[in-house]
């Protein structure tokens, strides 16, 4: 599995995002939750507020409100809608996020700690981000098929995490539950997949056609 190291630049303006959108098929934006201290639900519609009500932790509430609010602001510009309230999103029964009346736009969201990654795409895409820290996965590593890494050595914690992010991204791309693919080797033959290490701190996997 090839890995690319990336240094993320500082903030980008909406105008730059619009420019990038014109030049590229996929935009992946990284949002720091610490930059948003508001928990205003002003831009959420009734369905989103209903979803928010179900969330039982402040952390999940904050990341939900922030991701939806930021996405709506950006989509309003990219899709040239008049107002943020013209952007409406919903989740299908498998958990994939859609923009109502804009099926040509594909959305994928992933979170880790204080980071939200938002993929806005003209083609189907799955992403997953995880903070690069060692986790206790010794007993479940056999389910993760670390042979994906093409290494002769026993997979270490970071390798497992790389495999995990790729599996998650693949499942989101395929709109399947992670549990349905946990113990299955991924068929990567007809897809494009990339792994990035961002600022030496986060692992990001991207899967697309």
């Amino acid at each position: 599995m090839d890995t690319n190291n990336l240094k993320i630049p500082s903030t980008v303006s909406l105008e730059h995002i619009l420019h990038f959108w014109e030049q590229n098929d996929i935009l992946i934006l990284i949002v720091d939750l610490n930059d948003y201290d508001t928990l205003s639900t002003y831009h959420l519609d009734d369905i989103e507020k209903e979803h928010l009500e179900r969330l039982q932790t402040e952390y999940f509430k904050k990341r939900y409100i922030t991701s939806r609010t930021v996405l709506k602001y950006i989509l309003r510009h990219l899709l040239k809608e008049r107002d943020v309230s013209d952007i409406s999103m919903y989740k299908d029964k498998y958990g994939r996020v859609h923009v109502r009346d804009h099926e040509e736009v594909h959305i994928c969201i992933s979170y880790t700690e204080n980071i939200v990654t938002l993929a806005i795409s003209k083609i189907e895409v799955g992403i997953d981000v995880e903070i690069r820290k060692l986790r206790s996965l010794t007993n479940v590593s056999k389910y993760l098929h670390t042979t994906l890494l093409h290494t002769d050595t026993y997979a270490n914690g970071h390798d497992l995490l790389m495999t995990w992010t790729l599996k998650e991204a693949y499942c989101k791309f395929s709109n399947k539950s992670i549990f349905s693919n946990l113990n299955k080797e991924l068929d990567l033959n007809n897809i494009c997949h990339l792994n990035y290490i961002i600022n030496n701190k986060y692992i990001l996997a991207v899967v697309t056609d």
């Binding site: 179900r54 039982q56 952390y59 979170y111 206790s136 479940v140 389910y143």
Partner: protein, 81 residues
């Protein structure tokens, strides 16, 4: 069974995103209700394998067995018999 449930709840109190306002019922979805993310569930799987010396058969790797306090407790009881 109650001891196992208490142990899992204790794990969730320490390792999940639960805060002082969190209300968790036995059959609530841990992921849909914002208690854990998916990698958190995998770490929980690892914990129960270690703690209860069990191996989880592949056909039992289902959301029903892992996504609620009751599902996890039932799974441990079944496998530790």
């Amino acid at each position: 069974m109650e001891t196992i449930k208490k142990d899992i709840l204790n794990y969730l109190n320490n390792k999940s995103f639960m805060d002082e306002n969190t209300q968790l019922n036995d059959n609530d979805s841990l992921t849909q209700n914002g208690i854990m993310d998916s990698i958190g569930l995998i770490e929980l799987m690892d914990y129960i394998c270690e703690k209860y010396s069990i191996e989880i058969p592949e056909d039992m790797l289902t959301p029903e067995n892992f996504d609620s306090l009751q599902g996890i407790t039932d799974l441990i009881v079944k496998l530790a018999e």
